[in-house]
Structures are given as structure tokens and as C-alpha cells.
């Protein structure tokens, strides 16, 4: 029992340690919620595989500050995203818009899947033909039948 309490204490203490490290929340919870929602759609440019919401980079901090400011100014989500795209390009968006330069990006996976499906169908058809044409000859059939008769006895 005592051991369990110690474990529980350690877990709780660890959680508190993490909580202390989390960035300060603004006074207004709804602003913070919008900030997180918007910044999860955005890529951090310093550590490119992290979202702006999750990054600890200095620039990400500054950009979150800017977004917070824009929310306070009453800007819409789209206006805030446009602000980011105007400065850093479509690259900041995790869901870039569909346009000629991104056609391959959006269509590529479907193209690959289509190619795979066509290859699969082609292979299956060829196999079926192989099976159909490579049946047993009459001679082989009688031989097989006689062998089976022998095992039945």
C-alpha cells in the first residue's frame, strides 16, 4: 500500500513539474483555444516537422504572440492564416490550397494508388489466364486418376 502511495506521489509530482514548464496562458481561455486551433494548422519554420502550436523555437513563440495579438484585435481565422501565408508562403500551411503548383502534391498519392491498382488488376488477370491455359493434359489426368485409385485401395 505504502509503495503504491509513493508511486502515485511520483506520478503526480512529475505531472506538476511538466505543468510548471508549460508556456504561460493568456488570461482569456477562449483566446488561447483559438490560438492553439490556428497554430496547429501552421508549420513552424525553424523545426519544420513541428506545428507552430507545439514548437519551442523562439520564432514560434514570437509568431504565437502575433497571433494572440491579432485575435485580440478581432481578426478572423482566415485573416490570420493569410497574414502567415503572405510572409512565409503556402509552406506554413499543413493543408496547402489546391492550385497548379500543388496539383502534384494533392494528386500524387491518388496517382500512385491508381497505378498500383492497375498493376494489381493486370497481374491478377495474367495469373488467371495462366491457370486457365496450363490445365492438365488428358494423359496427366489419367495418370493422376490411377494414382488416386491406388491410394484409395
Amino acid at each position: 500500500m505504502k509503495r503504491w502511495l509513493v508511486c502515485l506521489f511520483i506520478v503526480l509530482a512529475a505531472r506538476m513539474a511538466f505543468a510548471a514548464e508549460a508556456p504561460l496562458l493568456a488570461a482569456d481561455e477562449t483566446v488561447e483555444k483559438r490560438l492553439v486551433a490556428i497554430s496547429e494548422e501552421l508549420r513552424c519554420l525553424v523545426c519544420q516537422n513541428e506545428s507552430l502550436a507545439g514548437s519551442r523555437a523562439d520564432l514560434a513563440n514570437d509568431l504565437r504572440r502575433e497571433i494572440r495579438k491579432m485575435i485580440a484585435e478581432g481578426k478572423t481565422d482566415q485573416e490570420i492564416l493569410d497574414f502567415m501565408v503572405a510572409r512565409y508562403g503556402d509552406f506554413v500551411l499543413y493543408r496547402p490550397p489546391v492550385k497548379p503548383t500543388t496539383w502534384l502534391l494533392w494528386g500524387g498519392p491518388f496517382l500512385l494508388m491508381g497505378g498500383g491498382l492497375i498493376t494489381l488488376i493486370w497481374l491478377l488477370r495474367r495469373r488467371r489466364q495462366l491457370v486457365a491455359t496450363s490445365g492438365l493434359s488428358d494423359e496427366q489426368r489419367t495418370l493422376a486418376a490411377s494414382l488416386l485409385d491406388k491410394t484409395d485401395q
Binding site: L63, E66, R87, Y88
Partner: protein, 174 residues
């Protein structure tokens, strides 16, 4: 033999694509600001905070905007080249001291030389955001009409200076 031909061809295509991918620098993000007017700003100058530097002051000139900071290691790497370049007086090089301490920046320039015609101080990085700065050093080539013509992310190398920046500057100066 023939049955290996198709997978082999597919593999070759894949290798070509991956090889092309390797030559691209993932850190080099194309700037949407190319061909657009350089975002206006007015900031205090490093050596005399009572004086201001403004983008509008540079109208009619081709100039370089070099974003740097004393804390930036790669800036140290490109600095000697900038100092050499400044000696040629080809075009004004304006420094944007990005998220830096004034005292540190001054000391850095005293030690390593000052290639800049003027230096604007962007202490909170707000102007840097307008220029889409994400990794100092960054260098912008701005034409006589105040349009950004090129952006170089990362330290300038002798090759990028000779092959990309200088020919463009020469073109624009005519």
C-alpha cells in the same frame, strides 16, 4: 530476365527522384515576397537610436538588406565576405539587427568589422516577421522601386555572391 526489367525500371525512376530530392535544401523555403514591395518599416539605428532608418529612404537605389544578429553563429561565418563585399562599394548593405542586444551587436561589429551602410535595430523581431525571416542570416536584394527581387536564406557564400547576387545587382542597377 524479362521479368526483372519492369521492377528494375521502376527502381531506376525512384532512384532518380530521390537523387533530385537530395539536391534540394529543405530549409530553403521559397519566399512569397519575391516581386512584392519590401515591407515598410522605420526603426532606430544601432549607433544612434535618435536617428531612424526607413525603407522609404532607399528609394531609387538598389540595395541589400542583411538580417543578422550577434548571437547568430552562421552570421559570423558570412561576415568576412560581407566586409570584403562592402569594400567594393557596389551597393549599400543595410543591416537589420534581429532580436539582439544593442551592446552585444556593437561589440560584435567592433571586433569583426562593420560592413553596413546603416543598421536598423529590430529588437523584438516584429520587422523580421514581416520579411518572413525564419533563419538568420538572410539577405534580400531590393531594387530601385523598392521591390524585393531575391532572398538568400543562410550565410552568403562566395559562390552565391558571385553567381546569384552580383549578376542580379548589376542587372538591376542599369
Amino acid at each position: 530476365m524479362k521479368r526483372f526489367l519492369l521492377p528494375l525500371a521502376a527502381f531506376a525512376v525512384l532512384v532518380v527522384f530521390l537523387a533530385i530530392g537530395l539536391t534540394h535544401d529543405p530549409r530553403e523555403v521559397p519566399s512569397p515576397l519575391i516581386g512584392k514591395p519590401a515591407p515598410a518599416f522605420t526603426l532606430p539605428q544601432l549607433h544612434d537610436a535618435s536617428k531612424k532608418f526607413s525603407v522609404a529612404d532607399m528609394k531609387g537605389q538598389v540595395w541589400l538588406l542583411n538580417v543578422w544578429a550577434s548571437w547568430c553563429v552562421s552570421c559570423r561565418e558570412e561576415h568576412p565576405l560581407l566586409v570584403e563585399f562592402a569594400k567594393t562599394h557596389a551597393v549599400p548593405v543595410i543591416g537589420l539587427d534581429y532580436k539582439d542586444q544593442v551592446a552585444d551587436a556593437k561589440q560584435w561589429l567592433e571586433k569583426l568589422g562593420n560592413p553596413y551602410t546603416q543598421i536598423a535595430v529590430d529588437s523584438d523581431g516584429r520587422v523580421g516577421i514581416d520579411y518572413g525571416v525564419y533563419g538568420v542570416p538572410e539577405t534580400y536584394v531590393i531594387d530601385k522601386q523598392g521591390i524585393i527581387r531575391m532572398k538568400h536564406t543562410g550565410p552568403i557564400t562566395p559562390a552565391s555572391l558571385a553567381q546569384k547576387i552580383l549578376p542580379l545587382v548589376k542587372d538591376l542597377s542599369q
